[in-house]
Every structure is written in C-alpha cells, then in structure tokens.
C-alpha cells in the first residue's frame, strides 16, 4: 500500500513539474491593470472673438487678457464672458492677489493694477515689452521680452537677472514668470525651455529641453508639478519638479498661450481656436 501511494505521489509530482514550465513559454503573471491617473479634458468653452494670452483667478472668477482686442474679460460662473476693462495696450500674462489683478501692458511698458473697478498704472521705463508678472506678497517678478531679462523686486528696488543668450541663466525672449516658494520659474520661450532661478538670480535648473518645445509661452507651477504650454506644437507638458516629464496633453489644444490650476482643475487657453479648455485629474 505504501509503495502504491509513494509511486502515485511521485507520478503526480512529475506531472506537476512537467506542466509548470513547458519549454519555450514563460508563466505570465496576471495582475490587475493599474491605470495611472492623468489630466483629461472635461470641458471646452468657446471664447468667441477673445484672443486669449493670459489667465488668472480673482475673486472667484477666471479673468483673461485679450491681447488682440486690448481688453480684460471676466468669465462668469454662468460661463458668460463679460468685458470689464478696455483700452489696454496688449495685456499679457496676468497675476492676482486678494486685492488686485496685475496686468503687464506689453505695448506701453507699464504694469497696471486693477481692483475690479479702478485701474492704476506703474510706468516701468526700464522694460521693453513686459510679457508677464508674478506677485508673491510684496515680491514681484516681471518677464522683459525684448531685453531678455527678469526684473525682480522684494518691495523696494528692481534688479534685473539675465541677458540675451543660450547659456544657463541667460534668456531668449522670456514670455512668462512665476514665483514659487524660494524659486523663480521662467518660460524661456525661444530657448525652448523652462529655467529655474533662486531669488538672487542664480541659475538652479533647466526643464524641458528634451521635448523641443516651440515656443514655451506659458507656465504654471504648484508644489508638485510644472505645466508648460508649447505654442507651435499644440501641447501642454507636465513635469514633476525634478524636471521629469509626467504627461503630454494634446487634447483640444491649438496654439496654447497660458495654463492655470484652480483647485482640482487646470485651465488652458488656446490662442489658435479661441477656447478655454478644462482638464481634471482622472
């Protein structure tokens, strides 16, 4: 009986071993597919004749700089467009705090402040075509398009960082700037990259060179990610703050000029199709 049982056991084991690894095949581990969350388009809003260049969020509404028509418009919660401020001279990338929207006027070298009712202008003769402003408390930074510089002010005096060129810390037509923590992020448009500086103007990091952007028109940075609009290539590139590409968004993009995150959504404006496109992380 024991012999019978032992023989049977050995036979079963041999069959099992034989079945386990047939030659030329590998056992494929079947796992539950994990689909990484990505930014996905959820809504598009037709901006009619608005030619959007810059975007900000102020007093619970989105505001858009309409470069071609020299005006600032508000997108109401109902989705309608309201022209609020006219007679600007080529308003560009906006920023805002609790009290004001800050408007760089590219055509006449001024930074305007708008509280929702009244506009005041700060003339900055040192600029030649301000393309963007970023405000962080009393600290401000301005992208100076034709001088290829970033102007920086911690409350009193303006100082300039950079010059025209392709090396680290040099710029070629900077179009957007954002202060974030202790860093300054710059959309270095025609060097086709994003540069990161410290607040003394020292170069720290370059992001996006491998993606061959053309041109890097707008950026938005949060605690984890950097978004860059790639105008000619109709895409938004999403990086982690180490500079690793996380996602390339192409859905519904046509000559994007700026990107902004509010809560769990990102908003991208298309200069080409005159649209606002909204994405959620899904």
């Amino acid at each position: 009986m024991n012999v019978y049982h032992n023989t049977l056991l050995v036979a079963v084991l041999l069959i099992m071993i034989g079945c386990d690894s047939p030659k030329g095949t590998e056992k494929i581990a079947v796992e539950t597919p994990s689909i990484a969350a990505q930014w996905q388009e959820v809504e598009r809003i037709d901006l009619d004749t608005i030619a959007p260049i810059g975007l900000t969020y102020f007093k619970e509404n989105l505001w858009i700089a309409d470069g071609d028509n020299n005006q600032l418009v508000k997108l109401t919660k109902a989705g309608t467009i309201e022209v609020v401020l006219q007679d600007l001279e080529r308003p560009m990338h906006l920023d805002s705090d609790a009290d004001y929207i800050y408007i760089p006027e590219y055509g006449k070298d001024v930074i305007s402040r708008f509280d929702g009712n009244q506009k005041t202008e700060e003339s900055m003769e040192q600029l030649d075509a301000p393309a963007s402003i970023s405000v962080q408390g009393t600290t401000r930074a301005v992208a100076d398009f034709y001088h290829h510089q970033i102007w920086y002010n911690e409350g009193e005096n303006w100082v300039a960082f950079g010059e025209k060129g392709k090396e680290n810390g040099q710029f070629h037509y900077p179009t957007d700037v954002q202060l974030m923590g202790d860093k300054i992020y710059v959309a270095d448009a025609y060097n086709h990259r994003v540069q990161v500086l410290d607040k003394q103007g020292k170069w720290l990091q370059t992001i996006g060179e491998a993606e061959k952007m053309n041109a890097t028109t707008g950026i938005y940075v949060n605690e984890k990610e950097l978004f860059a609009t790639d105008f000619e290539n109709n895409r938004v590139l999403v990086y982690d703050l180490e500079g690793n590409l996380q996602q390339t968004i192409t859905e519904q993009l046509e000559k994007p000029t700026d990107v902004l995150q509010v809560d769990q959504r990102i908003y991208v404006i298309n200069y080409g199709s005159k649209e606002l496109v909204i994405y959620e992380y899904q």
């Binding site: 030619a51 260049i53 470069g67 071609d68 080529r90 590219y106 055509g107 075509a129 393309a131 398009f145 034709y146 070629h172 037509y173 179009t175 448009a189 025609y190 061959k212 053309n214 041109a215 028109t217 105008f231 000619e232 000559k255 000029t257 200069y271």
Partner: protein, 210 residues
C-alpha cells in the same frame, strides 16, 4: 478800397490755413508684408516698434498672411526704405512694402513677376531636410527655394522638416540648399553662416544641424 484789400488778404490767409490743415490731415496708407508672424508675441512686438513713430495710426497685423497695415501723416513723406529698416529693427524681414500716397500715387517694392517657370518642364521631385521652427521659417525657406531658377514648386513641412521640391532637369537640389542656407537655414549638406543664423528672429532660431 482799403476794406476790399483787407478782406482779400484775410480770405487768402484762411484759404492757406485750410490748405495746411488739409495737408496735415492727409494720410498715406501702408501695406507691409513681413516674413511670417508666427505668434502674438512677435506680432505685438512688431506693432510696438512701429508705434515708436508718433503719428502712426490704425496698425493692424494679420498673422496668417504676415500683412501689416497702418496709416501715417502724408506730410512726413515716410519712405519705403525707412519702413523696411524699422521692420528689420524689430527683428523681422520685410518681404514687400506698398504705399498708397494721399495724392493717389502708389510706391511699391513689389516687382512684376515674369512667369517663365511654366515654360520649364518640371521633371524631378526631390525632398531635402531643412531645419526650421515655425510658420515664419516656412515662409522664408519656401521663398528662398522658389528664388532658384528651375524650381517649380517648394513646400516645407514644419513637422517632418522635409522640403518637397519640383525641379527642372537643369536644377540641382544643392543649388536650392545653398539658397536656403543663405536665408539662414541648415540642410544636412549646406549650413547657414553663424552671422545669418544669429540674425534670424528668436522664433526661428532652430537647433542647428550637425
């Protein structure tokens, strides 16, 4: 008699003053074709540089066609050369300028195109890689290619970087490459000079070919 002379003198003064006024109000109309304008930053920049001229009114830029129109006081007699110089100072290349003067005369840089191309048989279709970035590059590359005798067609694709050519038998791809390099764009066999490359607008300064 004394009164009649005084009246006539006053009339002359008024008429003369009206003439000066009319001259001051008269405007010349300008149409400038600029070598492609790829992005709003470029278009607004061109406009900004021209607005340095006091008296310039109604500037309009069509980015698709590269057409830039404006008016300027006729009394200033703004010249084609001055307009071209200002376009270049803004970092662009002027393709053509047409001035419709207030007196009805027209000045232009546009030359009558003598179409002899159709008489030449296009026998070869060729492609060559040309480095460039944007629509402004496209306009420049195609213009340079078409300037070569025997080129019957030239279309550059921004995405593939390929220039497709229709050539007569007597025309070589290398002739076209040389013309394109002179305009500032690299091909695998013929490179633009650094000076020409550096003069390209920022939009167009593509990664150089090795």
């Amino acid at each position: 008699m004394k009164y009649i002379i005084m009246l006539a003198a006053m009339l002359l003064i008024v008429m003369s003053s009206n003439n000066v006024q009319a001259q001051n109000n008269e405007k010349d109309n300008f149409l400038v074709q600029v070598d492609g304008l790829g992005c709003p930053f470029c278009a607004y920049g061109l406009e900004k540089k021209f607005k340095e001229w006091k008296g310039l009114k109604n500037p309009k830029i069509d980015m698709e066609t590269g057409n830039f129109t404006f008016t300027y006081p006729a009394a200033e007699k703004l010249t084609i050369a001055a307009v071209e110089k200002q376009v270049e100072a803004a970092g662009y290349t002027p393709v053509s300028v047409v001035i419709n003067r207030s007196d009805g005369s027209i000045e232009t840089t546009k030359k009558e195109v003598v179409t002899t191309k159709k008489a030449v048989q296009a026998n070869q279709k060729s492609t060559v890689t040309v480095a460039g970035n944007c629509d402004m590059c496209k306009a420049r590359i195609e213009k340079a290619a078409n300037s070569v005798t025997g080129v019957q067609g030239a279309t550059w694709d921004k995405n593939t970087q390929e220039l497709t050519l229709l050539l007569s038998n007597s025309t070589t791809v290398q002739q076209v490459e040389q013309a394109i390099a002179k305009a500032g764009h690299d091909t695998p066999d013929v490179k633009a000079s650094n000076k020409t490359y550096n003069n390209l607008h920022g939009c167009c300064q593509y990664p150089r070919l090795k």
